[in-house]
């Protein structure tokens, strides 16, 4: 009979010995003896089996005998190489790292559904310099437009085919060129075609021989391409005005006036001649005014209108002494926007 300090290991058997029959089935339920032991049911009814603790890292698995057992697991990762990616086919799988610059791309033709591929380039960047912009030179072909100079604005080119940087016209009149009059003729050349009209100005001009009319020639054109009509006014004892100098198919644009052969600011020749649409190749309208005094101190004022029918845009203007030499004065050409 167990005492109060005895460890009861088989209580039913003890009681049976004591004299009273008891069910001894419980004696097989706790077979554990050691820290970490676990218990599982055996094939025998009401009898558990002790499974001692496994070693560190082991996992509980079903053994070949169909009972729990501590098992050391094998590494199941499919990765083998630096850069591998874990993926799946019908089982865990690896996709090896792709070549430099390639990107992971879905591909249903691959077992993993993935592949490394060179990315498709949407557009080749033509820009090379700070400030560059991109435009289409044709269809979807990208082209580079280099940055313009300070103050320029983006406009469409003359052919309406591409953008370009353009200097904004200041509006009004822009001085294209100015020089002093000298020699048999004085020319201002390299006139750009970017303006609307030209204004030609002769100021305080005088010639080596007096009382000469002057003339203008455009782009060196000596052809019979100049027509004009002049309203001529002269103040003298008679003080008259009339139309004169009806030039048809002349070889220059004559300004019927009279020059002095010495400096006299109040009497020397002043002329303004406007050429409308000078860059056109159609006949251009000319409008001019002149003021001077002749050697007889008679005031001469003329109003001239005409046309120039040369076949090219005007790129130069020549002030002709028209039989004499220029001795002084200022010759200027302005572009009118």
């Amino acid at each position: 009979m167990p005492t109060a300090s005895d460890l009861v290991t088989d209580l039913p058997a003890d009681f049976e010995v004591f004299g009273q029959a008891v069910d001894t089935r419980l004696k097989a339920l706790n077979p554990q003896t050691t820290l970490g032991d676990i218990t599982y049911a055996s094939a025998t009814a009401n009898t558990n089996t002790r499974l001692g603790i496994g070693t560190a890292g082991q996992v509980l698995a079903v053994s070949g005998g169909g009972v729990p057992a501590w098992t050391t697991t094998a590494d199941v990762t499919p990765l083998t190489t630096k850069g591998d990616l874990f993926t799946f086919t019908t089982a865990d799988a690896r996709i090896g790292v792709g070549a430099n610059g390639t990107v992971l791309t879905a591909d249903s033709a691959e077992a993993t559904g993935l592949k490394w591929a060179t990315p498709t380039v949407g557009m080749t960047n033509p820009m090379t310099t700070t400030g560059d912009t991109i435009y289409s030179s044709s269809g979807s072909t990208p082209a580079r437009l280099g940055i313009g100079t300070a103050g320029q604005v983006l406009t469409v080119n003359s052919g309406a085919t591409a953008p370009e940087w353009t200097t904004v016209s200041s509006g009004g009149m822009t001085l294209i060129g100015t020089t002093s009059l000298s020699g048999a003729s004085t020319t201002i050349s390299s006139i750009p075609s970017t303006y609307k009209h030209l204004m030609i100005l002769v100021e305080r001009a005088y010639t080596s021989s007096s009382d000469y009319p002057i003339a203008f020639r455009f782009s060196g054109d000596t052809g019979s391409n100049y027509n004009n009509k002049t309203l001529y006014g002269q103040t003298d004892a008679n003080s008259y005005a009339y139309f004169r100098n009806d030039s048809v198919n002349a070889t220059s644009m004559e300004i019927r006036t009279r020059t002095l052969s010495s400096v006299d600011a109040g009497k020397n020749l002043n002329v303004v001649l406007t050429v409308y649409n000078y860059a056109s190749t159609s006949p251009r309208f000319l409008q001019g005014s002149a003021y001077s005094m002749n050697s007889g101190s008679e005031v001469i004022t003329t109003q001239t209108t005409g046309t120039y029918k040369g076949s090219s845009a005007i790129s130069s203007v020549t002030a002709l002494g028209n039989g004499t030499n220029w001795s002084g004065g200022t010759f200027s050409v302005y572009g009118v926007s």
Binding site: S182, G183, A184, T186, S189, S190, G323
Partner: protein, 72 residues
Amino acid sequence: MEMLIKELDAATGLEIEREMSAEELQQWETDKKQLQDKLLAEQNEAETKATEKAALLAKLGISQSEAKLLLS
């Protein structure tokens, strides 16, 4: 008289003064003659007109200033 030509290139600002070429000199002579012919023709026309005017004034018996007054 020197036959010089002056040219200002508006694009570069370069100014030059040079002698006329043979072609330019020929053109200058042509221009001069055309002008002289024109002036001569105008002078003849003016003289003819003046003669006719004087005759008309005489016919009307008025002076030039009186004619000018009538036309003003």
